[in-house]
Symmetry: C2
Subunit: 470 residues, 2 copies
Amino acid sequence: MAETEPNAPETLSFDGMPPLRTEDGDLDPLFLDAIRAAIEAADARTVEALAADLHEADVGDIIEALSADERVPFIQLLGEHFDFTALTEVDETVRVQLIEELSPEEVAEGVRELDSDDAVYILEDLDDEDQEEILAKLPAVDRMALRRSLDFPEETAGRRMQTDFIAVPPFWTAGQTIDYLRDQKDLPEEFYEVFVIDPGFRFLGAVALNRLLRAPRPTRMADIMNDERQRVLATDDQEDVARMFERYNLVSAAVVDEAERLVGVITVDDVVDVIQAEAEEDIRALAGVGDEEISDSVFYTLRTRWVWLLFNLLTAFLASSVIGMFSGSISKMVALAVLMPIVASMGGNAATQTMTVTVRALATRDLDAHNVWRIFGRELSVGLLNGGSFALIVGLAAALWFQDPLLGGVIGAAMIVNLLSAATAGILIPLAFERLDIDPAVASGVFVTMVTDVVGFLAFLGLASWILLG
Amino acid sequence: MAETEPNAPETLSFDGMPPLRTEDGDLDPLFLDAIRAAIEAADARTVEALAADLHEADVGDIIEALSADERVPFIQLLGEHFDFTALTEVDETVRVQLIEELSPEEVAEGVRELDSDDAVYILEDLDDEDQEEILAKLPAVDRMALRRSLDFPEETAGRRMQTDFIAVPPFWTAGQTIDYLRDQKDLPEEFYEVFVIDPGFRFLGAVALNRLLRAPRPTRMADIMNDERQRVLATDDQEDVARMFERYNLVSAAVVDEAERLVGVITVDDVVDVIQAEAEEDIRALAGVGDEEISDSVFYTLRTRWVWLLFNLLTAFLASSVIGMFSGSISKMVALAVLMPIVASMGGNAATQTMTVTVRALATRDLDAHNVWRIFGRELSVGLLNGGSFALIVGLAAALWFQDPLLGGVIGAAMIVNLLSAATAGILIPLAFERLDIDPAVASGVFVTMVTDVVGFLAFLGLASWILLG
């Protein structure tokens, strides 16, 4: 590779390999070019030299950066050096496409090496047939563990848990436990707690590793375990689990079934992904872009966005029909048509502000019965004050523009009315959807702007018809 | 308390105390009533019985649920049972207000017990004077550690790090390290790794506790440490730190200064807060609501939102002036005024979709030089296909409504033009801001809707004037 870039030795790392990332953390184009060239030449040795020792997250980023037809050859050239964990780090679209292109044998071989939570993550997006084909090729023990996880509903703790964990009886001592850990060969790769269970496998408590290390060897596990028993039910929603981790600053938590039997452990790295995903979901829902990913196709993207735009179109026609009611006034006074979008647009923006705050406060549980009236009062006050000040600005501007003080007064009054309606709709509509168990992030936007469009046009054109042309 | 709710024994927990939370995780109103009554009666014993043993996160939630004038008495009644860590769990507004109302002695007393990262979190929002007053009351060692953290810029790793950590020389054995941990009384409350340093305090590597536990006692630390040396610079932006934790699934990471000396440790619980906060920031920026919190006052809320609305007003006037150019056409054909908001509104919504996807892809580094042209192509295709299908629907509807096929054709053509401009603006404007090092989430919205409003009105009214009235 040094030959291709003889004049740029500072971009080569000490072993003559191009560096993986540029200074600001993106993948280095030189590195990608080297990988691409090696894939093109089917040069397994170079692909290995470049990528075999990388962290799975970096391998995931490389896969995403490659084009669709380079990905499978890349994985096959890496062969046994390819860690399937990397597939948990790529977009769902890319993952599903890859797994469908690889043979079920190759996938089963790779999945076998994975922690159970990662295996479930990879398998859960496949259709039942593909899933079964791969599961059938796994050893019975692994297959049963994965089936059990996959039987839990989507987005529950049962899907995110790792079924490999360490559990000891309460009468064991710290010393005994440490010796056991030293002798045991088949331990999970990472763990942060040792669980304590009774003979019926029921969860009694957890001992963080730092407490285990600090305890004198003869101390009984029962005496150092944290018996607040912060554990999650396998059927708990992953969002509730994330909120618990966040609230209590947890690093891992036991997962139990309905009989309080320990069935798995959930760790903070999975929770970080959930937190990220849930916040992301709200951003997208608010903008009407569904669950699409940057790697999705034109048609998938189109489908999710089209429905939102269709709803928006219906409300736009509703707003138009309000304008239509006043076409007589408009033909008498064209200034009304020129100014009317200002009132509607300001209302729409103010309502989006209130709605966004409301939706997020509902999502993070910061808004509930204790403070809803106070927040409603605040939003109305903000609406009134914003309405008042913008009424003044817009009123003056309109009066000067069209040399008509009365027109300025009318648009000012309509502005106040619409910003108050924006505050009301921005808070009540998300609250109503929350009550009806409909995700307020998805549903609120269309209705809120419908209210501000209709009220905006109605207030401005109505007042104008009555006062200026009445 | 049983007297106030004699008929609801199922809502009392076994020790006669009302339960803290309802089934869906909100604070129980009965519990809050009990706390409030005890505060009112200045009954320290009951406040203690109710709240002294709670997790700091629950105490934080109680503080937020209380009214402003109950908070200080609550903390004072809890006295030495109040863990100041709870203040890291409340909104900034509430925290600053509380600390200003408590005496500097009380705050210094409370801060002294905290981990350094929590202490910094509480102190950093205070003004310099209040900060100094509290720091002056702390022991010299604590004061110096906190000053050093506070000297790092806001939102850097140095501000989030905990300065208490465990570091051993590379020639120590696993057994020696475990014995040291057992003997040492003054260890951090939680830790997940033991760091290895050279005599100059330079960071060499980290040993996860589970590796330490599994290693045979005579193993040297140098042989089991992870020498990939994933560490962060104290001056690194907290967002970059969060991305690193997320990418490599870290639980804790060493923080070093520019000379590679170990100065602290950053743990995943702080990173979870950062991830949550950064996603939140983008949601709010996109909606123009700044950094406000649900507990902020009317005036703070007003100030942040007002500026955004003012920008929006300027773009609305620009759009109005475009309409003004065609007032002649509108007075000849009022249907144009009735239909024109549809074109602008559809463009605005489509642009917001594209913009949101672009802004988030930039934030999560999923969009870069490798795929920008592909994504641009996809967005244009989506714009064209959405434009085409909505052109058909709107064109037909308009033609039927106003019995004018040509008018339908004009609005359909305008729709295609505007959805293409929406796709272009939605991707190019955030990219341009990113290039200029301006946060695309904050700045894009106003400009993107300005483009779709102006293009929407111009295309529709312009085409109509030319074809229908020309």
